[in-house]
């Protein structure tokens, strides 16, 4: 590709010491992420996908290798600007919001830290963010315990938007949610990506989710990158044995089911994407 990648990893390696042994969680991985694309990282637990995410976010420094953002190497100690531009949506929306702080306070933090808007404007910015993720602005003063899992995940997404981030690392953002809510959150993410020109790094073990949202897929096994291909190509014609076994493990959908889904999705669209406050 000709355009400069927004994020690239060069020979990324990360070791963990467990007692006296050293375990190589991520082994010499290199990849590029283009602006506006959604790169899925799939693999079993322990394949190193979350470790890669943590290195991208600057939570762990790489043992060796480098990461660059817009062609510039990311330092081990991230600046506030890097923090602003690379954000995270976590797997568990129950723990990712502070139970003792209001929704507004959680969103305000991002605005305050990065000085977006003036103090007077920020309450309105919080309201706008909530609207943007399909929540009623009245949610601002509630505590996270008054929200459902899907609603909390929307707040977590709003928090990443509040940073005006360019790259969002989505660490299994839908795996703690039920299927219907999952579909809505994926749709919301896809809409936001187009609207804000976001770049997604979507970490998941769920290949059916990958097919819906990802442009390209990176398959990890034992800390190594075994295959990196366009989503369609990967599903049509996986080159690696391991990828083939992952795909064949996805539950098969019959033609009847596909038809049923088509009919059901029309009725679902009628009641809108916004969940009821009690849901």
């Amino acid at each position: 590709m000709t355009a400069q990648p927004i994020l690239s990893a060069h020979n990324l390696t990360r070791d963990f010491r467990v007692g006296k042994r050293t375990i190589r969680a991520v082994d010499d991985i290199s990849f590029d992420v283009q602006k506006g694309e959604c790169l899925a990282i799939v693999g079993e637990s322990g394949s190193g996908k979350s470790t890669v995410a943590n290195m991208i976010l600057g939570i762990h420094p790489p043992t060796s290798g480098t990461l660059s953002f817009h062609g510039e190497e990311l330092p081990v100690k991230r600046t506030l600007l890097h923090r602003e531009k690379i954000q995270l949506v976590q797997q568990n929306p129950l723990s990712s919001l502070n139970p003792r702080r209001s929704i507004a306070a959680s969103l305000r933090l991002a605005l305050d830290v990065h000085k977006h808007g003036t103090r007077g404007e920020r309450p309105q910015m919080v309201q706008k963010l909530l609207e943007e993720v399909g929540l009623d602005p009245s949610f601002a003063n509630r505590s996270p315990s008054a929200l459902s899992g899907g609603q909390r995940q929307r707040v977590a997404i709003a928090r990443a938007l509040a940073c005006q981030s360019e790259v969002v690392v989505l660490d299994e953002p839908t795996s703690a949610l039920d299927v219907l809510v999952q579909a809505r959150i994926l749709r919301l993410l896809d809409d936001l990506r187009t609207m804000h020109g976001l770049t997604f790094i979507f970490i998941t073990h769920d290949l059916s989710v990958v097919r819906n949202i990802a442009d390209r897929v990176a398959v990890f096994q034992y800390g190594k990158l075994v295959e990196l291909a366009d989503t369609e190509a990967l599903f049509e014609n996986p080159t690696e044995e391991y990828t083939r076994s992952l795909i064949s493990a996805v539950p098969v959908v019959s033609t009847e089911e596909v038809e049923l889904r088509g009919r059901l999705s029309k009725t679902e669209a009628a009641d809108g994407g916004v969940e009821s406050p009690g849901a």
Binding site: L57, G58, I59, R78, L80, R83, E84, Q87, L88, Q90, N92, L94, S95, S96, L97, N98, P99, R100, R101, S106, L109, A110, V113, H114, S145, A156, R159, C163
Partner: protein, 277 residues
């Protein structure tokens, strides 16, 4: 707030606790107005009425120099509560800060701060207080210093453990990834999650501080005469047992009321403040 009150009032034990504590606090605050003989709080001598048993005139009897016991108990509450407030107001912020910083930063800060805490925790509290009181003069101020020195490490331990557990929660990671400062994360994100446990422990400790202050003055190392104090009242009264029983029994009951009241509230408060309920 309304929910908290509903829970407190729905539990018979906490209603008793609340009543006792309200009684203690009110008598302490209003001692000047409700005491039958406010001047008896000081060095008053009235040998004509010395050592009188409870009567209509002196509800709880008089002490060996003829001072009204009821009035002296009200003023003693004022001293005890004042002591409790001052000790906790100093010990809690120190202990909580130590626990938060050690728990969140980890590494050498954890090692140094928590080993200091362990040293304090390994000394029996009353012995440490006695040692400090022995080194310094046995005054009310030194009594407070002694009790404070042995109180903060318990808060450091408590908050340290909660902080260690909260540190791995997603909201802390989220704040770090956003780029929030350490001070914000420690005091605005983690501290609010420690508050229910801290407040509960403070309520329970209020009773214990009163008790330990009474113990110290029982041993003659706390509040000095003529300031009224429950511990020294019991201590002096023991010399006149069993004949002048009112000299020890009533101050003893007064200690019991205060300590029991705070303990009852503390237990129920734990339920009220738990965020998961």
């Amino acid at each position: 707030m309304k929910r908290a009150l509903t829970i407190l009032l729905s539990n018979p034990l906490s209603v008793v606790g609340l009543t006792l504590v309200t009684f203690v606090v009110l008598t302490a605050l209003l001692a000047d107005f409700i005491s039958p003989y406010p001047e008896h709080a000081g060095a008053v001598v009235d040998f004509l009425n010395a050592n009188k048993p409870p009567s209509a005139e002196y509800w709880l009897g008089t002490d060996v120099v003829g001072r009204d016991q009821l009035s002296r108990i009200f003023y003693a509450y004022r001293v005890s509560l004042g002591l409790g407030v001052v000790v906790l107001a100093i010990a809690v912020p120190i202990g909580v800060t130590v626990g938060l910083v050690a728990g969140y930063l980890g590494g050498w800060a954890d090692y140094v701060l928590m080993r200091i805490t362990d040293v304090f925790l390994s000394i029996p509290p009353l012995v440490l207080a006695l040692a400090i009181m022995g080194l310094l003069e046995p005054t009310l101020l030194n009594g407070m210093i002694a009790v404070t020195a042995m109180w903060w490490p318990w808060y450091a331990r408590l908050v340290y453990n909660i902080t260690r557990a909260q540190k791995v929660e997603g909201y802390v990671l989220a704040a770090e990834v956003i780029g929030a400062g350490k001070l914000h994360i420690i005091f605005r994100e983690i501290l609010p999650n420690c508050m229910p446990s801290i407040i509960t422990k403070m309520t329970l400790d209020f009773g214990f501080v009163i008790l330990i202050a009474a113990s110290l003055s029982f041993l003659g190392l706390g509040v000095q005469a003529p300031t009224p104090d429950l511990g020294s009242m019991v201590s002096e009264g023991t010399r006149y047992l069993p004949d002048s029983w009112w000299l020890t029994v009533f101050p003893g009951i007064a200690i019991l009321i205060a300590v029991f009241g705070f303990n009852l509230i503390g237990d129920v408060l734990r339920e009220v403040l738990d965020p998961d309920l």
